[in-house]
């Protein structure tokens, strides 16, 4: 496919000999349906040529925000979903989106936390707590993104004398996954766990935003 060629008709010669004229118009009809870079000038694409409503660059986008200002306590020493709030859980599933090698999944997560002060009284200096982000493939398998982010309740790791990081704090995470092969993405979620269940992490408002980018 590509360039259009024809034989010049010559006076005195039979017209359309060997279907020369017919072939030209057939060729034009065919080639004009499969235009390649040989046919175009450079820089023919402007922003007005891209169909933005088709979301050519972003294949999928989902977000959720919880703003009902209600604190929820988490005390588990193994990962559980961050599921509180008036908008539903951070665990969202959706119709499968196929991604290929080189596509990018980008996940932002912000949350307000209020580590409890009284959890530190005389307790061991085990004051870590973690948040991790995951995505789901194939409708069932959860895969970790990035790394398990680690925060603390107090300022000191020593037992019995740690002072708490009092007050509301916002923690933010952004992870990207660049896929090396084809797979289907069906969900996202954020999870939390504590080092010692004697502490309590109160989590409040949060927002998450995920997009899958393909071009």
């Amino acid at each position: 496919m590509g360039t259009l060629k024809y034989n010049a008709e010559k006076e005195g010669q039979p017209s359309n000999s060997g279907d020369s004229v017919d072939n030209y118009f057939d060729d034009l009809a065919t080639q004009s349906a499969s235009i390649v870079s040989d046919n175009t000038r450079t820089e023919w694409v402007t922003t007005k040529h891209i169909k933005w409503s088709d979301k050519p660059l972003i294949q999928h986008r989902t977000s959720r925000t919880n703003i009902n200002n209600t604190q929820t306590a988490y005390t588990s020493e193994s990962y559980v979903d961050i599921a509180h709030g008036g908008s539903g859980s951070t665990s969202q599933t959706f119709t499968a989106v196929t991604v290929n090698a080189g596509d990018v999944l980008r996940y932002h997560f912000n949350i307000v936390a209020y580590p409890e002060a009284k959890g530190l009284d005389g307790k061991s200096g085990e004051d870590y707590w973690w948040i991790k982000l995951q995505y789901q493939t194939g409708g069932s398998t959860w895969v970790d993104l990035g790394f398990d982010t680690r925060n603390s309740v107090g300022t000191n790791r020593g037992s019995g004398n740690s002072e708490p990081i009092n007050g509301f704090r916002r923690y933010g995470i952004t992870f990207c996954e660049i896929f090396s092969g084809t797979t289907t993405i069906t969900g996202i979620r954020a999870q939390v766990k504590l080092e010692d269940s004697d502490h309590t992490i109160r989590l409040e408002n949060w927002t998450q935003d995920m997009r899958i980018i393909g071009a």
Binding site: E11, R41, V45, R106, R157, N161, G172, E177
Partner: protein, 253 residues
Amino acid sequence: MARTWTVKTSKTRDQFKAEHFNEPANAIAAQFNGKLDQHNMPLDSVTHADLADPVYSDDAHGVDTKSSYMPTQSYHTAVWDIDNTAGLDSTEFGSAVYATNFSTDNWNAKWNSFPVSPVTEGSRLKFNAQEGMIFGGVTASVERRSGRARNQYGEGGNIGAEFNMGQSNWHELGVFVNGILCGRSGELNNGSYTVDIPFSTPIGTEFTSIEVKWMADQLVFFDGAVASGSATNDAYQQYICSGLFLWARNQFR
């Protein structure tokens, strides 16, 4: 505009000559073969299916780095993902994390790089950028702690009150693109935090190196007796990083 308008007209009862085919055919071919431009291609027609597929590559310039090159942009990530829960029972901060101690290690007065091993992964990104902009961020779990000590009045003397050390420690992270500071966290206080620092900068068509560096105030208090409890005296002299994720998006001009 790659268009040709009418080059030849015939009326009914006019003669039909070779040039009635040749001239329009030539005019069409001249435009079609290489001159179709923004005026020929329909607006709102380029959909996702028309854009070339991304090209994936990994570890091109560093361990645990991934890159994706797309028609309009490229993405690059570097991650340091270790088990930051390992060894918490026997060590203060975990056995796999990066912990550096001011009283024993060399700290720069200002910005410090993460060491090549093991933390290179996650703190450095290298790629070939195209002219345009770089947007990106680093998500890092970083920490400093306070320590605890007790006064001792002279050698062998009475042991006095306990006090906290390094309560007002601060630390900071900065993102450098080709040596220029483009994003910084500002001073972070004691404790372990996860910070998400955005950065952006214009860039030319050049080899680009992005690096995350840290900075911390430097405080040493020698002597003093060990405090009760398990708080160490020198916890406040340490800077710890338990995970890094650095990403950059190069939007082409």
